[in-house]
């Protein structure tokens, strides 16, 4: 069986700096896969390559065997990859519901004539988009905030809204960039439940996370990046005790340097 997402020999450079170097990575369908590593290790860069924000200098990126290289972000989204952002990127002045409806519109076809003439397909899409959006807001637990401006939501709720918006694009693969950042412990555990229920809906999850307790409990597999290279991969428990990982986080002992 092929992998859902596969990166092979991916290298990204910013000028002279190699952000990601010869990275091989694969995510299987139905997994919760975590990407961890110190700051600046290249985790978000990996997200940006997969979603078409950057193009890799070398290597291949495929989703179910179809190459994602050279595709523009909206095309990647339509192929079934959605993401959230480390630094929230909501449409702040639009209501929570509208934010999610923008996501749902990724699957809609209404153009200018359809909208002006109020064609039946347009009306059907509006209705179904609104329903989907309400369902997803309920799923992430902020149904009662649907009419509020996104920027007026609390930090944790904004993170939830980003997840709802991403899910509205009907992804096969969901990329979560530090979903628990800035959350308190009860919010964190609620979010873990949410991530699991998203996986149970058939969406594969690839997440970047700094909170090790979250990573260790929800991940099926973990990969560790350091300076753009993958230094470990495997079950959470194995990765945790891997000497290379400990070195990366603690720094090398002086006698070995």
């Amino acid at each position: 069986m092929g992998h859902l997402l596969e990166l092979a020999g991916v290298t990204v450079r910013f000028g002279g700096v190699v952000a990601v170097s010869d990275l091989d990575l694969h995510v299987d369908k139905g997994e919760i896969f975590s990407l961890i590593g110190p700051n600046g290790a290249g985790k978000t860069t990996v997200f940006n390559i997969v979603t078409g924000v950057y193009e890799a200098a070398q290597g291949s990126v495929t989703l179910s065997g179809r190459s994602l290289r050279g595709r523009r972000p909206h095309q990647v989204t339509r192929l079934g990859v959605a993401r959230t952002f480390q630094n929230l990127r909501l449409f702040g002045n639009m209501s929570a519901l509208e934010n999610v409806m923008v996501g749902a519109d990724a699957r809609h076809r209404t153009g200018i004539p359809g909208a002006i003439l109020g064609l039946p397909t347009h009306r059907a899409e509006e209705t179904s988009g609104r329903e989907t959006a309400r369902e997803l807001l309920a799923l992430v637990g902020i149904a009662e905030l649907a009419e509020d401006a996104a920027s007026n939501l609390s930090y944790g709720d904004q993170r939830r809204l980003e997840i709802a918006r991403a899910l509205a694009t009907e992804p096969r693969l969901l990329l979560l960039d530090e979903p628990t950042a800035g959350m308190n412990p009860p919010e964190k555990s609620a979010l873990q439940g949410l991530v699991r229920s998203i996986r149970d809906r058939g969406v594969t999850v690839l997440l970047i996370e700094h909170d090790m307790s979250v990573v260790m409990t929800i991940s099926d597999r973990v990969a560790v990046l350091d300076f753009g290279r993958k230094i470990a991969e495997g079950q959470p428990a194995d990765v945790r005790t891997d000497p290379a990982v400990i070195t990366a986080y603690l720094g090398a002992p002086t006698d070995a340097a």
């Binding site: 910013f14 523009r72 449409f91 702040g92 409806m101 990724a106 809609h108 200018i112 401006a149 300076f227």
Partner: protein, 412 residues
């Protein structure tokens, strides 16, 4: 893209075991939050001061909008119909006595008032909805005007054939200009559009087939419809032209509203808010920006045809940069993104200088001062759009401030 980029050279985190990484991060977040707190405090104080000033201008839009949405559908239509009836009754002599004692009110109703409203509704699609700053909108007005003049004089076509032709031509011009220009953003895009406005005017001045600086004369009027005075397009009575432009305004408002409340309008709003995030949510941003540009352009072209058909003669001087600026200030003054606001803004920008014609040259000075005062005390416009209002009342939004600070934290 800047926000998406990480700082490539940032060193790995200081000594912290895998287990401590989380707590260390907590610490950093805590520090970030306290900083956000102090920034927020400052913002809140400044905001409170601003709100205290603004309180003197009653904010009716909120309650009015809520009342409006509570009305049943049929009464909403009744109100709309009432407004149209008022507009139809506007060219009465006694209204003119009050509104413009020093000039011919009926002429003003067509130009500048009617044309400005049409242009502002068109520019609002580009600036208010899609968030594309267009400083050369007059270019489309000019293309429409010259299309009417050239096809009317040289080919002898009828107004009703030229109108859709010019609208289509302006949509195509929008696509042609937009294809290279809309790859740029912000200031750069504004400069390119500014250039486009000037290119059209200067080309019209220098080309021989556009009549050069003397322009084109003998432009035919629209053909009469029946024998009614209101539909007889002569030289003396401006009222029929006013009705024509009014009809076009109604059609254009209908179209703009339909677009605003659809996938298209949401995509535009998303692009205006955060173009990169919109693309990552599946919005084909370039295509939608191009559409906004083309639709805005074709509305401007329609206005140009109207203008030309009434004026008999046009010259390049009818299409100065100042016109772009005035229409843009109408959009911003009225409340960018909110149609009733934009229409009110256009009406005021067109009417106020004429109303105070008695003050001679001082009227422009007063008008300028009024614009400045408006922007200080009510930056969101007279009738702000719901979306904009929320953002200006609460600073840049609860999310934006902490995000910016956390991001800086991340990069140090």
């Amino acid at each position: 893209m800047r926000v998406l980029k990480r700082s490539a050279a940032s060193p790995p985190e200081g000594p912290a075991g895998p287990d401590q990484a989380g707590t260390d991060r907590e610490g950093r977040l805590e520090r970030a939050r306290s900083r956000v707190g102090s920034v927020k405090g400052k913002l809140a104080r400044r905001r409170a001061a601003a709100v205290a000033w603004r309180a003197r201008l009653p904010d009716l839009t909120g309650p009015v909008a809520r009342a409006w949405h509570r009305l049943p559908r049929w009464s909403q239509w009744l109100v709309r119909l009432g407004i149209i009836v008022l507009a139809v009754l506007a060219p009465a002599d006694w209204v003119g006595q009050i509104m413009a004692p020093a000039s011919d009110w009926k002429t003003l109703l067509f130009y500048p008032i009617g044309i400005f409203v049409l242009l502002a509704v068109g520019l609002n699609v580009v600036v208010g909805q899609a968030g594309i700053l267009d400083l050369g909108y007059v270019a489309f007005f000019a293309i429409g005007g010259y299309t009417m003049a050239l096809l009317g004089v040289n080919v002898g076509l009828d107004f009703w054939i030229i109108l859709p032709t010019a609208v289509a031509l302006c949509a195509v011009s929008g696509l042609v200009l937009g294809t290279p220009a809309l790859r740029l953003r912000g200031d750069y895009l504004a400069i390119v559009t500014l250039g486009f406005g000037e290119i059209i005017r200067i080309s019209a001045t220098n080309a021989s087939w556009t009549g050069g600086p003397r322009g084109i004369a003998g432009i035919p009027h629209p053909p009469d419809i029946g024998n009614l005075n209101a539909f007889t397009y002569g030289v003396l009575d401006p009222t029929p032209y006013y009705y024509l432009v009014l009809a076009l305004i109604v059609v254009v408002i209908f179209v703009a509203r339909r677009l605003e409340r659809s996938r298209v309008g949401r995509a535009w709003a998303a692009i205006r808010e955060d173009e990169d995030a919109a693309a990552l949510m599946g919005v084909p941003t370039f295509r939608f920006k191009l559409w906004a540009f083309a639709i805005g352009g074709s509305i401007g072209g329609g206005a140009g045809v109207m203008f030309s058909a009434k004026n008999i003669a046009i010259t390049p001087d009818n299409f100065p940069l100042l016109l772009s600026i005035l229409v843009l200030s109408a959009v911003v003054l009225g409340g960018s993104g909110n149609l009733p606001g934009v229409i009110l803004g256009a009406f005021l920008v067109a009417w106020l200088p004429e109303r105070f014609r008695g003050l001679a040259d001082y009227r422009v000075l007063i008008f300028g001062a009024a614009l400045v005062i408006m922007m200080i005390f009510r930056p969101e416009g007279l009738l702000p759009s719901r979306r904009r209002r929320s953002s200006l009342r609460t600073g840049t939004g609860a999310g934006a401030a902490p995000t910016a600070v956390v991001e800086q934290e991340e990069k140090t």
